[in-house]
């Protein structure tokens, strides 16, 4: 419950925190995600856990999350990215990209891609967040 705790971001999601939601993988994985992404309404932020992997030497696992975001009408992707990166959640002193799950993990990478329409014209901002277990 992080992004939903950012008042400005929720406001940008038409005031409905449920417009920020997790995508749950189900078998066959991939098929339902493709459909969810293709039909992602606006404004929405969909969170997906992508994969665990080995972290840097001496660390535990690495975890990658992706956020797929579509702004509301009149908002730009830059506005949305700014809210996600720079807003702080209620009760949290530091921004999303710098927080950690607990004392045992730390953020390793925070990247985003230029929104580009896919073959079907659906466009979204993708933000990847990787954290490493200590």
């Amino acid at each position: 419950m992080y992004l939903r705790s950012m008042p400005d971001l929720v406001q940008a999601m038409e005031g409905d925190p449920e417009n920020i939601f997790a995508h749950n993988n189900t078998y066959p994985i991939g098929a339902n995600f493709d459909e969810a992404l293709r039909t992602l309404k606006s404004p929405r932020i969909m969170v997906r856990y992508r994969y665990p992997g080995p972290a840097a030497a001496g660390m535990g696992y690495s975890h990658t999350l992706s956020l797929y975001a579509r702004p509301k009408a009149g908002h730009s992707y830059e506005d949305l990215l700014d809210l996600i990166i720079n807003s702080t959640a209620t009760g949290k002193p530091i921004p999303f990209g710098l927080d950690s799950f607990n004392d045992d993990v730390c953020p390793a990478a925070f990247t985003f891609t230029e929104p580009m329409p896919d073959e079907e014209g659906t466009e979204f901002l993708q933000i990847d967040l990787t954290v490493d277990e200590r």
């Binding site: 419950m1 992080y2 992004l3 939903r4 920020i20 939601f21 997790a22 995508h23 749950n24 993988n25 066959p28 994985i29 991939g30 098929a31 995600f33 493709d34 932020i45 969170v47 997906r48 856990y49 992508r50 994969y51 665990p52 992997g53 975890h63 999350l65 956020l67 999303f96 799950f101 967040l129």
Partner: protein, 34 residues
């Protein structure tokens, strides 16, 4: 192979126990972020 299928192979283990552990991990991380 589609990118998502590659992720399946990476994300999910070779047995049901691994799959369950990965699913729990995924749910926990998604809950944290959203």
């Amino acid at each position: 192979m589609p990118a998502n299928d590659r992720e399946i192979l990476i994300a999910f283990g070779k047995n049901k126990q691994d799959d369950l552990a990965t699913a729990n991990t995924a749910a926990a991380w998604c809950a944290w972020a959203s």
